[in-house]
């Protein structure tokens, strides 16, 4: 064949290849899958995989490749793995990180190369405020928010002397800051065990000594399970009420801590009894697929995929245009399992927070029974500091 035909055929072939690869959506899921802090990560991964399956493997109508990796609960390792996902596997969206310290190390890798980080859990104040980035989205909450709800509840209940326990890392400090913002009583002490610490003998002793009205603890994953068990075993008087957030009182902890959690009040944004069609469908599908009830981590992973799905549909499947994708995500119109959901100016959610109590359902399983609304249409305290749009 003559030269022109050969050139045009090669050109067409190249366009074909480019078009074929452009159509593929690659989502990188990096989460904690090993160690004592892995229980939330496993739920997160399961929620995400369920969503992709519900969409028949085509998020936003595009062929989707899900690449799952374990961050090993180590910021340094997470950074390297993020580099691999972003630079080698060339994912368009990175998501899945549970813990804020890991997020702070790894998210910049995606953001610096113009990609997108969609947070399905951690929401450090840095990214909500001064260091907000047009590529950083959250489908979960800002770290302080859930604790602000708890602080408001504690305030409304009239607790005078409260002791706070949170791990010593960014989200832990966000937690105590958030609680204090809405709690006007006296915080008699703040204990900051090391992130990942599992033996709380020291903290429990100090706590017992000070006889608080209430103990508010934020201890995610394995930390919370151990704390609850050791607290109960230590025989602290009932006068000190235990109060927590969904991070230590949801399906991921119920399985391991058993009845140690029964009757504990906690604040959160979603529960298995949330009354929306999307939620009921999600819970039923999750139970069918995995044989257990989903935690809120799973619900956030599910929501993350649904959010990407709505955005990709909105731009007609053009996933290789990061700018278009970012714009579509911020104008997001997807239906979250939690019901009311919208994104604020800093791309963090504006939503309701509820008070729940750990109860038993008809089948004898533990779950969070939603009691009342604590904060309505709540954005976060850092939105005004975010100058980027």
């Amino acid at each position: 064949m003559n030269r022109i035909t050969r050139w045009s055929l090669s050109f067409l072939a190249c366009m074909g290849m480019v078009a074929a690869s452009a159509a593929e959506l690659r989502i990188g899921v990096m989460t904690t899958l090993s160690g004592a802090q892995a229980v939330p990560g496993v739920d997160m991964r399961d929620g995400i995989e369920l969503a992709v399956k519900q969409l028949s493997g085509k998020v936003g109508g595009q062929q989707t490749q899900l690449i799952v990796a374990d961050d090993q609960f180590n910021p340094g390792a997470a950074k390297q793995i993020a580099e691999r996902l972003v630079k080698k596997d060339k994912v368009q969206v990175l998501t899945g990180i549970i813990y804020s310290n890991i997020l702070l190390a790894a998210a910049p890798v995606a953001l610096e190369s113009g990609g997108i980080y969609l947070s399905s859990n951690a929401g450090p104040s840095q990214y909500a405020g001064e260091q907000c980035d047009s590529g950083f989205f959250s489908v979960s909450w800002q770290n302080d928010a859930v604790h602000e709800a708890a602080g408001k509840y504690a305030n409304d209940k009239g607790y005078k002397r409260v002791l706070l326990v949170a791990p010593n890392y960014p989200a832990g400090r966000d937690a105590t800051t958030g609680f204090r913002r809405f709690f006007k009583g006296e915080v008699i002490d703040e204990l900051y065990p090391k992130l990942g610490q599992l033996d709380f003998a020291v903290e429990i002793a100090r706590l017992r000594e000070q006889k608080p009205d209430a103990v508010y603890f934020f201890l995610p994953g394995g930390m919370g399970i151990n704390f609850a068990k050791q607290y109960r075993a230590a025989g602290i008087p009932e006068k000190s009420i235990l109060l927590t957030s969904q991070f230590s009182a949801d399906q991921d902890t119920f399985a391991a801590s058993g009845d140690a959690m029964l009757g504990i009040y906690n604040t959160g944004h979603w529960s298995t009894d949330t009354d929306t069609a999307e939620s009921r469908e999600f819970v039923a599908a999750f139970e069918k697929a995995y044989g257990r009830l989903p935690s809120f981590y799973a619900s956030q992973g599910y929501d993350a995929i649904m959010m990407v799905d709505a955005a990709v549909r909105a731009i007609g499947g053009n996933v290789d245009d990061p700018k278009a994708l970012r714009k579509a995500l911020s104008d997001s119109k997807f239906k979250s399992v939690r019901g009311k959901f919208s994104l604020g100016t800093n791309r963090f959610p504006v939503q309701d927070f509820f008070l729940r109590v750990v109860s038993r359902d008809a089948k004898g399983r533990l779950y969070n029974k939603t009691e009342s609304l604590v904060l309505s249409n709540h954005s976060d305290a850092y939105a005004t500091a975010c100058k980027q749009r």
């Binding site: 910021p75 340094g76 580099e83 691999r84 630079k87 080698k88 310290n101 910049p108």
Partner: protein, 316 residues
């Protein structure tokens, strides 16, 4: 020209051309991997100096990786973004720490030396874990690489430019180590390894030689630490954990303890294996452990360090 030199030149040329090839193939990711291998080769070469040639089993060598790296990261946090200031500061800090740690540890021998270096390194580790202001356990990020001020013609801030910088520094370090080992200093060091009592009796200030070697090796390792933090723009205390020192030892052993190329060979094999094996399984440490065990058992009959420097010590 002997075969060895030809091989080195060919390898060197290959490494020079490799970035262009990788980038054109769209595999820029592997540039980062190669840079990491070279950095670990540098660290392992420095350990080989005291472990292989000097016979000092230090379990705290990774501390110098950390000190060098943190010095640069902390300087960056305080606004010192130029490498001409940050790097010498880092190396100076490493030299200082190494002198102190060495002065204390080298008064002991054998397993006690091992324990003390380990303990002192752990102390350094805990210091950095406690420094909340510099990230503590979560690590410290650098927003940009330090600049040499010659970005126009050697863009070290970019991946390719940095790769060449590391290559150049590694080559320089290998040359220095090579010359050092063949010098009088190197001979004495080997002599001390072989029979410390004899060297001392002859009249050599053994302690001083060991300390000098210790500090030199530490500074080289500190340089590796500096390059490491510049590569990743991130450092955390876990880089100084004793298990990292153990890994460095493994790298040197795999590369051939006491041989001049131990660091390079070891790092290539170790990190290369890690990369290849992790494609197939996340459980790559199992074959690595088995390989190491096999290596050790094979040598159990005669754990001999090569007397490769040629001249015998009867001249001493």
């Amino acid at each position: 020209m002997n075969r060895g030199l030809i091989a080195v030149i060919v390898a060197g040329l290959g490494l020079l051309v490799l970035p262009m090839v990788l980038v054109s193939m769209g595999q820029g990711f592997y540039l980062g991997l190669l840079t990491r291998i070279m950095i670990y080769a540098l660290a392992a070469t420095s350990l080989n100096l005291i472990l292989g040639y000097g016979g000092m089993v230090s379990f705290g060598h990774a501390a110098f990786l950390g000190i060098g790296g943190y010095a640069v990261a902390i300087a960056a946090q305080h606004g010192i973004g130029t490498a001409w200031v940050a790097w010498p500061m880092a190396l100076g800090a490493v030299a200082l720490f190494a002198t102190v740690i060495g002065a204390i540890s080298l008064r002991t021998q054998g397993v006690h030396f091992l324990m003390i270096t380990l303990a002192l390194a752990q102390m350094v580790y805990y210091v950095f874990v406690s420094l909340r202001g510099y990230g503590g356990d979560d690590g410290l990020s650098m927003s940009r690489r330090s600049s040499f001020g010659w970005e126009a013609w050697w863009p070290t801030r970019g991946d390719t430019g940095f790769y060449y910088l590391v290559l150049a520094l590694l080559a320089l370090a290998l040359l220095c180590a090579h010359r050092l080992v063949r010098s009088h200093f190197g001979r004495v060091l080997i002599g001390v390894r072989e029979n410390e009592a004899r060297m001392s009796t002859i009249g050599y200030p053994v302690y001083r030689y060991k300390l000098a070697a210790f500090v030199i090796a530490a500074v080289l390792c500190g340089l590796a630490g500096v390059l490491n933090v510049e590569l990743n723009r991130f450092i955390s205390p876990s880089v100084m954990h004793w298990s990292q020192s153990g890994m460095l030892m493994v790298i040197v052993i795999v590369g051939g303890l006491g041989r001049p190329w131990a660091g390079v060979v070891g790092a290539t094999v170790f990190l290369g294996l890690e990369e290849v094996l992790s494609h197939y399984t996340e459980r790559w440490q199992l074959p690595l452990g088995l390989l190491l065990l096999a290596l050790v058992l094979a040598r159990v009959a005669g754990w001999r360090l090569p007397r490769d420097t040629g001249k015998s010590l009867q001249h001493v």
